[in-house]
Amino acid sequence: MNIKKTLVVIGNGMVGQHFLVNLVNNPIKEDYNIITFCEEPRAAYDRVHLSAFFSGKTAEDLSLVEPGFFEQHGITIYMGDKAAKICRDSKTVTSEKGHSIRYDKLVLATGSFPFVPPVPGHDRAQCLVYRTIEDLEAMQAAAKTGKVGVVVGGGLLGLEAANALKDLGLQTHVVEFAPRLMAVQLDDAGGAMLRTKIEALGVVVHTGKNTSLITDGEQCVNKMCFADGEELETDIVLFSAGIRPRDDIARDCALEVGPRGGIVINNQCQTSDPNIYAIGECALWNGMIYGLVAPGYAMARTVVADLAGNEASFTGADMSTKLKLMGVDVASIGDAHAKTPGALVYTYQNGDTAVYKRLVVSQDKKHLLGAVLVGDASGYGTLLQYCLNGIELPENPDALILPSRSDESVGLGPDALPASAQICSCYDVTKGEICKAIDAGCTTLDGLKSETKAATGCGGCAALLKSVLNSELSKQGYEVNTDICEHFAYTRQDLYTLIRVEEIKTFADLLARHGKGKGCEICKPTIGSILASCWNDYILKTEHTPLQDTNDTYLANMQKDGTYSVVPRIAGGEISPDMLIALGQVGKKYKLYTKITGGQRVDLFGARVDQLPPIWKELIDAGFESGHAYGKSLRTVKSCVGSTWCRYGVDDSVGLAIELENRYKGLRSPHKIKFAVSGCTRECAEAQGKDVGIIATENGWNLYVCGNGGMKPRHADLFATGLDKATLIQYIDRFLSFYVRSADRLQRTSVWMENMEGGLDYLKSVVIEDKLGLCEQLEQQMQTVIDTYQCEWKTTIEDESKLKRFRHFVNSEQTDDNVVFVEERGQIRPADEQERKHFKLVEVA
């Protein structure tokens, strides 16, 4: 039997983990015992999306390690243990906790550390960096007491950090040494445009500033003094002045390092010792350190191939990037600074909308060498493909950056791309691989993502991935059929628009104008719901009744035995003892099974259809109204007890919950909607698992959207912070109306958001920045619903003709003999099949 060799990986960061995942998927893994040292207190996590920690993602959410990964593959991980020393003679690695391992092959994946300029005072309290989860926790803690934050460094990361400070509610400054922001990626004009945009958001930008001292402040914890004599008071100083490779451990064992740091590697990612590899941000290839994940991942794959004896080499990587910095789109591709000899430059600048675009084109005007985009990066995907695949440019390359005045699109369709075109650079997925997955039957965006991993890294390629999918599907003759059913060749969104624009008020009218056949249980309730969202008629009007699902028809929830449950509204979960007694009396009188729901109200089960009207008559007399538990509509606004009683409460969560529930009650929507309001960040109401979640903070209300519990839990996204009540309500009005108009049928807000092109940022641009110019309409739409609210049960019990329906038989007062209850824990429950048979036998006998 072969004796296994030992492979040690130092560092379990993004690249170290990517290496392990690739290794265990390769048969060569059988040859090795695998051991990894992980200095941080947790295994690898997604540093690229680190900032999402502030919008509520937890360390677990960010983890890159599938549960059980190390155990399953027999990998030993020394957690929280730093490799301290390598001895190349004895081929051993020794750790701080005293583990000493003999290796045959060693991989260094130690990453980098944030560079902190050696300014006197740089190590004072609240002088922080932005690299690990612990760093972010320190920021959060410092922001609790601080008011002002300064980021030193106006590069990509610096601006991302500034955004985080701003979201934490601090007055934010960016101090940059260079004369412009993002000096590496942008030229002067692009930098200036970015500055205008960012300053408009209330962040103060100082360029050309050299910090000479950090010392005691007067109003704040710290004071920064600059070489030009100016000063700036701040509580937090956040250094983001570049990264330095972590090459100490390599230096100490005399591996070759670059003059400015970095472990020197060849095309196989081997260091000067062929048994030792280096990958990721600690590695120096051809004089370059790559501060991005994609090149690190490519290095990791190269090492796995090399270990397996396959030919592979790392030959550099593309450094193009596209990001959204504080809501401003910024992208840089290839040779952005036109350093290639003979390069031609085209620029487009629009001072009004603050858009700047620059194309760098080869001398013969045939190929794209680079580009810079600020303010509008929608062309990124197309331009990147031109650049990476050497696709020949159209005759007038400037057409690619000029705003198209006609409807004709200058974009490069997915069909123009060769199969070798890389669509996702994070996971190196080519168009060819995507097409293969589609051929194999993967026909949804979600499916493609999990099958190929494309668009699961930085997500920059999601739009392109979708267009490849659509074009392939239609090529294969799959009709990408989005019709809701055979009766209407339209999507729910189309139907919504038709109904609104043509002011259609009934199903029959819509069917006559735009449909065929008689309708079905798909289109009828969908259209019933849209009609209700738009015009908010009484849903049991004769022309609407046949459209409703049974729950809506009987204004109650059908249970498995055909009986119904009754749920009166208890707004915010607040109920007086008298009301509770009244509810109890009804439950007792009609012998109903009673249970507290997850939405803080009471559910009464086991009511026969004929009992529903008398039950509701009594409830309404006692002051209750319909809880709409039967509808695809607003359900509940859950709340914690909030500042009125709670020792920690910051604001009145119950008061707000009641107000919101009363505002939106009765709103019919594509699916049910749940809210919650917490009185402080302890979050007792679990608002971050709701469609709309609100949390009180010292600075105002924080709004979260598109969370979900249930089958597919989703943590809500932080949408806006520090809101006053009026703004909060305005945003929710717009958000809900936009959901109602644009979601698919039976699509919860969470799935709606996940399928939305542009995701959270797009939603913010619509709701907050009014990008579509829709907000006024959206608010009006909501106002109509609010103004026309009625308690459907009240209307029903007052209308004799509607009550006719509420009996089991048209021709008899008898009840359904198939409904049989037995007793359990002192209440009724439906009899099971066995019990029912027995019961019938007894009765017949």
């Binding site: 055979e486 009766h487 056949g517 008689k518 309708g519 079905c520 249980e521 289109c523 009828k524 309730p525 004769t542 009744t545 046949p546 459209l547 409703q548 699902d549 049974t550 729950n551 028809t553 009987y554 059908m558 498995k560 035995d561 055909g562 006719k804 329906r805 089991h808 038989f809 048209v810 021709n811 008899s812 008898q814 359904d816 198939n818 409904v819 099949e833």
Partner: protein, 110 residues
Amino acid sequence: MSTWQSVCQLDDLQPDSGVCALVSGLQIALFYMPQESMVFAISNYDPIGQANVLSRGIIGDINGQIVVASPLYKQHYNLNTGVCLEDEAISLPVYRIRIEHGYVQISVKE
């Protein structure tokens, strides 16, 4: 001998929707499509959901067959034949139905 029994008046039916009638001890779902002047009668018992609920389902057409969708788990039953579209092995009793002088009449004999 006539096996037709009057069950209720036409007015008692719900347009484009269903009601349930008790006829000779049987629960029968009655559906009415006024525009087409059509009435249908099938068993009210949903054998898949095991409850007497079919009269409370939504009616419509699928591929030209007139159907009711069970309100419990949404299987479709052909209103003319009683056959379940999702599982042809399942078939519900259908009954003869007619309108006479404003009365809905049913014949439960085969």
